[in-house]
C-alpha cells in the first residue's frame, strides 16, 4: 500500500504521453487493457512496456474524463473482458495531443540535432 506513491510518480512522468498512446491504440477499435499493452509493445518493437500500475489508473482516469467509454464483451478466445473505446471527445483529444506531440518532437529534434538544420 505505501509504495503506491512511487507508481504515482511514474504515472505523472509519463502521463501525457501514455494518455496519447492509449488513445492512439484505441483509434483502431475497442480493446481491453491487456490488448492495449500488447499493442503498444508490438508497435514500439518491444521498446515500450506499459506497466499495469500505470495503465489501469490511466484508463479509469480517461474514462472519468469522458474520453473513453467501456463495456464488457467476450474476446475471440471466449474470455469476458472490459473493452475500452474512444468517444467523440476522445477522438478530438487525440487529435489535439497528436498535434502537440508533433510540434514538441520537432522542437526537441531541432535542439538535439542542430547540424541537420545548418546543412
Amino acid at each position: 500500500m505505501p509504495t503506491k506513491d512511487r507508481y504515482q510518480n511514474r504515472v505523472e512522468l509519463l502521463q501525457g504521453t501514455l494518455d496519447m498512446l492509449i488513445l492512439k491504440t484505441l483509434q483502431w477499435g475497442p480493446q481491453h487493457g491487456y490488448g492495449i499493452i500488447q499493442a503498444i509493445r508490438v508497435s514500439s518493437s518491444d521498446v515500450l512496456q506499459v506497466e499495469t500500475g500505470s495503465l489501469y489508473p490511466a484508463l479509469h482516469r480517461l474514462e472519468r474524463q469522458g474520453w473513453l467509454a467501456s463495456e464488457w464483451k467476450q474476446t475471440d478466445s471466449n474470455q469476458r473482458a472490459k473493452f475500452y473505446r474512444l468517444t467523440p471527445a476522445g477522438r478530438k483529444q487525440l487529435a489535439s495531443e497528436h498535434q502537440r506531440w508533433t510540434m514538441l518532437s520537432a522542437a526537441i529534434a531541432g535542439i538535439m540535432s542542430p547540424q541537420k538544420e545548418q546543412s
Binding site: M1, T3, K4, D5, H32, Y34, T52, A58, K82
Partner: protein
C-alpha cells in the same frame, strides 16, 4: 453508491488481464505453472494496482479516511487495556464538559426577544448608600419615561398570585407589569391581545394574561378561555391573552396582571418597589441612552432630597438575567476544562510511551514509501477515533451529571428544564471529542513526523529513547500537576466556605420547624385590621393542633429574598444626612415568634399578646443594632423610628442576631434587624412558623386544611421545613463544592497516574544503569533518592506554577465564597500538601522497584 460493484468489476478486469496473459504464454508453449507465475510476475502487485486505480475514481480522500479509521480500529482492538483506559478517561473528561455545557446552554439561553440587544433594565445606583441595582420609584420612572430615549419603558414587579381553581386555590408565580411591558418585550400573545394602555389605570385593570405553560397545565389549552373570567387574589379578572411558549421569562412568572400605581406611591420618590425594563428608541445607542438618562438622574438628585447621590445604570436585559449564574458557571466550566486538559496530557503521555514502541512500525511504513503526512494522518485518525469513542461513552456520565445538577434546583440556573442531551449539546460533544482527539493526537503525530527511517532501522534491536520525548513527557506531567493544583485549591476553598456556611450558627434552631407562606389578596383584605385578624386566627387555631408546640408568624423569614429595609433614626438626636442613615431590616412578627424560632432574649422582653394596635408602639431589636446604635448605653426603654415621618417606637427587648442569608452577607456584611408587632404593623403576607413536637412535615395536610377552612381563597405555599430552607439557600455552594470536589479528586488521580507513568517509564529505561550502580556498590537508598528526585523536580515546578495560577484564578470565584478569603493560605497549603503526598506516592512505587533491580539480571537483559 455502487462502490462495491466497481471494486468487483475492477477485480474482474484485472483477473481477465491475468488470464489473457496466461493463455498467451500457454499458446507460446510454456508449461501451465510457468505461464501462471510469469503472468503474475509481469502483472506486478495486483492489490496495489487496484488501489492506485481506485485513486482515479475521485472521492478517495473519504475512503482513505475510512481506511485510516478501520486500521485505527484494528490497532485499538489489539490493545484492549490501553483502549479501555483511554476511553474511560476521555468519557469522564468529555462527559463532565458535555454536562456543564448543557447547564450553561440552558442557563444562558437568550430571552428570545426580537432585537434583544435593544432591551435594557434601568437600575438605580448609589455608591454612597451601597445601593446596587436598586428598584425605582414611580416619579423617577415617569421622569425616565419622558427622556425620549425609550420607545417603551415598563415597570414590572414580580411576585405571586392566588389563583382560584374549581376545587382549591393555588399560588402561581406571576408578574405585575405596566402596559408598556409587552411593546418593550415585543413578543405578542399568540391568542388574544396584550394589555391596553388604559388597563394600566385603576378601575380598568381587571384583566390577566396567561403563559403558555399555565394555559396548558391549568386550562387544558382551551383556546376559548380567552375572554372568560378567572379569580385572582379574590378578584375576577378577564383573560385577555395567552402568550406563546417562547415568551421571554425573567423569573418564573406564569401569570401577568397590570401594575397599577396608587396615588400615594405615584407621588412618593422614596417608595422604591419595582423594576424598570425598556426598549431603546431606534437609532440611539446604549451609550448615548445611558448618558441621557444619567443626565436626567443628575438633575433629579439635585432637585429632590430622596434622590441625593443617585445615578442610573442601563443594563442589557439579556445580561441581567444571566448575571447571577455567571460566577458559578464560569467556575464549573473552568473546572471541567481543566479536567479535560489533564486527561489530554495523560493520554498524550500514554501515547508517547506507546509511540516509542511503535517506532519500528512507523519506520517500516515510512521505508515502504508512506509519506510523513500519511503517517501523521494515520495516527491522528487513531486518536480521533479514540476520542470519538470516548465522546460516545461520555453520554452516560454526562446524563448522570445533568441529573445531579438539576437535582439541586438552583434558582440562579434558569431553564433547568432545558438541561438535557439536545442536539446542540450533542454537537458540542462531537466537536469537543474531535478537538480533543486532535489535541492529544498531535503528540504521536509529531513523533511520527520526526521519525528518521535510517536511525530507527539501524537501532532495530535496541529500544529507542529520544531525549526530547522524555523532556516532553516531563512537560506534560508538570502541566498536569499545575492544573491539578489550581483545581485542588479551588475545591478546597469551596469546601471551606461550604463548611463555614453549614456550621455557622444561624442564631435560631432549625430542627422541627415547619414554615409556610400565606399571602392575603389586597382586595379581600385591604384593611390592615382584617389582615392582623386573619393571622391571629390562623396561629390561634394552629396552636391547638396536636403536635404543635408554638405557632407564630413573621413577615419574611431570615434569609428570604424579600427584604424590607428602613432608615433607623433616633428621635433624641438630630436627623443625619440621608446618605449617613443606617439601613435596618424590619419585619413584623406575631407573639411567640422568638419562642418558635428559639431566638434567645438578651435583655428586656419579647413581643407578646399585650402589644396590640391600641397599646404603645414597640419594637424589639437585635444585638447588632443595639451595639452599633447605642454603643455604650442600654437601648431598652429608649426610642427609635423608621423614617423621618414615622412615629417613634419604644425598644422593649434585645434578642440574639440571626443569619440574614447569603445575599445580605455578600452585599453588606451585616445589617441590623428589628421586629415590630404584627398587631401594630400588619402585613398581608406572612410566613407561618410552627415549632412541632412531631416530624414537621406530618403537619402539612392539617395546616392546609386549617387555612382552607378559614378562607378557601388564600392558599398556603412555599411549605418547607426550616431545615430544608437552610439547605436550599446553600444549594449553589453545595453544588459547586460537590462538583469541584469530584473534579479535583479526578484530576488528582489522573495527575498521580501521569507522574507514576513517567517515573515508571524512566525507571524502566534506566534499569541497566541502576544495575551497574548497584553492582558498583551504590546504596539502595541512593537509587531511591535518584528516582524520587526526578519526580520531585517535576512536581515542584508544576506546583509552583499551579499555585501562581490558583492565586490569579481563585479571586474570580470570590463571589461564591463565604467566611474564607480567595487567597486563604491554609487552603493553599493544604492543597499543596495533598498534591505533594499523592505525587510522592506515585514516585515511590517505581522507585522501590528500581531499588530491587538485580544487577546480574539487569546487565544480562541487554
Amino acid at each position: 453508491m455502487n462502490r462495491r460493484r466497481r471494486n468487483r468489476e475492477l477485480n474482474e478486469e484485472l483477473e481477465a488481464h491475468l488470464r489473457m496473459a496466461e493463455r498467451d504464454r500457454l499458446d507460446r508453449g510454456q508449461s501451465p505453472d510457468d505461464a501462471h507465475f510469469d503472468a503474475l510476475a509481469e502483472f506486478g502487485n495486483k492489490g496495489l494496482v487496484q488501489e492506485v486505480t481506485r485513486d482515479m475514481w475521485g472521492w478517495t480522500s473519504v475512503e482513505r479516511l475510512l481506511q485510516d479509521f478501520r486500521y485505527g480500529a484494528r490497532m485499538l482492538r489489539r490493545n484492549p487495556g490501553f483502549t479501555i483506559v483511554v476511553v474511560l478517561t476521555l468519557a469522564l473528561g468529555i462527559g463532565a464538559n458535555t454536562a456543564i455545557y448543557s447547564v450553561i446552554h440552558a442557563a444562558l439561553a437568550p430571552l428570545g426577544m426580537p432585537n434583544a440587544d435593544r432591551v435594557v433594565m434601568v437600575w438605580t445606583e448609589n455608591a454612597k448608600r451601597n445601593w446596587h441595582q436598586f428598584p425605582a420609584s414611580v416619579p423617577d420612572y415617569r421622569d425616565w419615561q419622558s427622556s425620549g430615549v425609550f420607545s417603551s419603558l415598563a415597570g414590572v414587579s414580580d411576585g405571586g398570585f392566588n389563583l382560584r381553581l374549581a376545587d382549591r386555590t393555588e399560588r402561581i408565580d406571576g408578574m405585575s407589569v405596566t402596559p408598556e411591558f409587552f411593546p418593550a418585550v415585543a413578543v405578542a400573545p399568540h391568542l388574544g391581545r396584550a394589555f391596553l394602555p388604559e388597563e394600566g389605570r385603576a378601575g380598568h385593570d381587571q384583566v390577566a394574561i396567561l403563559s403558555d405553560a399555565l394555559w396548558r397545565s391549568h386550562f387544558a389549552a382551551n383556546p376559548n378561555i380567552v375572554g372568560s373570567t378567572i379569580v385572582v387574589d379574590g378578584v375576577s379578572r378577564a383573560i385577555v391573552g395567552i402568550l406563546p411558549p417562547s415568551f421571554p421569562k425573567f423569573e418564573k412568572e406564569e401569570l401577568y396582571t397590570p401594575l397599577v400605581f396608587t396615588a400615594d406611591v405615584a407621588a412618593d420618590r422614596g417608595s422604591r418597589f419595582f423594576q424598570v425594563v425598556g426598549r431603546l428608541r431606534d437609532g440611539i445607542t446604549l451609550a448615548a441612552a445611558q448618558q441621557r438618562v444619567a443626565g436626567i438622574e443628575r438633575r433629579l438628585s439635585k432637585q429632590y432630597q430622596e434622590d441625593t447621590g443617585h445615578s442610573v445604570a442601563l443594563q442589557p436585559a439579556e445580561e441581567a438575567v444571566v448575571e447571577d449564574a455567571r460566577a458559578l458557571l464560569a467556575l464549573l466550566f473552568g473546572a471541567v476544562g481543566f479536567v479535560l486538559l489533564i486527561a489530554c496530557a495523560n493520554i498524550a503521555n500514554l501515547l508517547l510511551a506507546r509511540g516509542t514502541s511503535r517506532q519500528k512500525e512507523m519506520a517500516l511504513r515510512a521505508a515502504l514509501g508512506a509519506g510523513r503526512w500519511r503517517l501523521c494522518r494515520q495516527l491522528l485518525s487513531e486518536s480521533v477515533l479514540l476520542a470519538l469513542i470516548g465522546g460516545a461513552v461520555a453520554v452516560v456520565p454526562s446524563l448522570l451529571a445533568m441529573r445531579f445538577v438539576t437535582s439541586f434546583g438552583i434558582d440562579e440556573l434558569r431553564n433547568a428544564n432545558l438541561i438535557a442531551l439536545n442536539s446542540s449539546v450533542l454537537v458540542f460533544n462531537l466537536a469537543l471529542s474531535f478537538a480533543t482527539g486532535i489535541l492529544f493526537g498531535l503528540v504521536p503525530a509529531w513523533q511520527a513526523w520526526k521519525t528518521n527511517v535510517g536511525d530507527t532501522m539501524r537501532e532495530a534491536s535496541r529500544s529507542y529513547t529520544g531525549g526530547t520525548q522524555h523532556r516532553l513527557r516531563g512537560l506534560f506531567v508538570i502541566a498536569e500537576v499545575a492544573l491539578t493544583m489550581v483545581l485542588l485549591v479551588g475545591a478546597g476553598l469551596m469546601l471551606r466556605s461550604f463548611a463555614h456556611l453549614r456550621s455557622a450558627n444561624p442564631g435560631y434552631d432549625v430542627t422541627n420547624v415547619l414554615t409556610m407562606r400565606v399571602a392575603l389578596s389586597d382586595q379581600q383584605y385591604a384593611a390592615p385590621e382584617k389582615q392582623a385578624a386573619f393571622f391571629e386566627r390562623v396561629t390561634r387555631e394552629a396552636s391547638a393542633l396536636p403536635g404543635v408546640a408554638t405557632a407564630s408568624a413573621i413577615q419574611d423569614l431570615p434569609g428570604s429574598d424579600n427584604m424590607h429595609g428602613s432608615g433607623l433614626l433616633r428621635p433624641d438626636r438630630p436627623n443625619p444626612r440621608p446618605e449617613d442613615i443606617r439601613i435596618e431590616l424590619t419585619d413584623c412578627v406575631m407573639p411567640g415568634y422568638f419562642d418558635a424560632m428559639r431566638i434567645p432574649l438578651v435583655r428586656g422582653r419579647y413581643i407578646n399578646q399585650a402589644d396590640t394596635s391600641s397599646s404603645t408602639p414597640v419594637v424589639v431589636i437585635d444585638e447588632y443594632t443595639a451595639r452599633v446604635n447605642w454603643p455604650n448605653e442600654d437601648p431598652v426603654g429608649k426610642q427609635l423610628k423608621f423614617g423621618t415621618k414615622k412615629a417613634p417606637r419604644r425598644i422593649v427587648g434585645i434578642v440574639g442576631n440571626v443569619d440574614q442569608g447569603i445575599l445580605v452577607k455578600l452585599l453588606k456584611g451585616q445589617i441590623g434587624q428589628a421586629y415590630t408587632p404584627a398587631s401594630q404593623v400588619p402585613s398581608p403576607a406572612m410566613t407561618l412558623v410552627l415549632r412541632t413536637k412531631l416530624d414537621p412535615s406530618s403537619l402539612i395536610p392539617a395546616m392546609r386544611a386549617l387555612v382552607r377552612n378559614i378562607d378557601i381563597d388564600q392558599p398556603v405555599f412555599e411549605v418547607q421545613t426550616l431545615e430544608s430552607i437552610r439547605a436550599t439557600s446553600r444549594a449553589p455552594q453545595q453544588l459547586a463544592t460537590s462538583l469541584l470536589g469530584s473534579f479535583a479528586a479526578l484530576a488528582l488521580l489522573l495527575a498521580a497516574i501521569g507522574i507514576y507513568g513517567v517515573i515508571a517509564y524512566a525507571v524502566g529505561q534506566r534499569t541497566r544503569e541502576f544495575g551497574v550502580r548497584i553492582s558498583l556498590g551504590a546504596n539502595r537508598l541512593d537509587v531511591l533518592r535518584l528516582v524520587v528526585r526526578q519526580g520531585i523536580v517535576f512536581t515542584s515546578i508544576g506546583m509552583l506554577a499551579g499555585l501562581a495560577g490558583a492565586f490569579a484564578l481563585t479571586r474570580l470565584m470570590s463571589s461564591l465564597l463565604s467566611g474564607v478569603a480567595a487567597t486563604d493560605p491554609l487552603t493553599f497549603a493544604a492543597g499543596a500538601a495533598l498534591l505533594a503526598a499523592a505525587a510522592l506516592t506515585a514516585c515511590l512505587i517505581p522507585a522501590f522497584r528500581a531499588t530491587r533491580v538485580d544487577p546480574v539480571v539487569a546487565l544480562r537483559c541487554e
